[in-house]
């Protein structure tokens, strides 16, 4: 499992769209706070593998391509730890 504290430090690029605490102000983007870590990890890996298209998938893919599997696990743990 990822390290939420480390994930917080890696979340700087996520904030613009997903909010400072994983709650968005832009309704076309998903809230992440309190989402299940396993699901978040799988979604990020899907973006990385190019398994999602449409919507913001290309934007997400560009961000996620820079992340290691450890980064992804840490980010998933961080967002799962936040109050929804």
């Amino acid at each position: 499992a990822g390290d939420a504290a480390v994930g917080k430090n890696k979340s700087v690029s996520c904030v613009a769209c997903h909010g400072a605490a994983g709650k968005v102000s832009i309704p076309m983007y998903p809230n992440l706070a309190g989402q299940n870590a396993m699901y978040l990890e799988q979604a990020l890996l899907s973006y990385k593998k190019g398994e999602r298209s449409g919507g913001q998938a290309e934007v997400m893919r560009a961000y996620v391509l820079a992340l290691s599997d450890t980064d992804i696990a840490d980010l998933a743990a961080y967002y799962a730890s936040l109050q929804p």
Copy 2:
């Protein structure tokens, strides 16, 4: 925008994986309660259009193919209305 009350009636098939009130007990699935309606709608349309693969995408696609755009809007409104 969709009708949350109508969406609730249409959510019977969603419950097995996404929980009775949009909170899952199976960590590989996403919570839906309190998610943004616009995002939920876009995600469901992406499954319908085959823009997502991997994970549970084929399962989701099979369910969503049976839904009209109105059904999708109603379901999105319903899950967005629930307490996260």
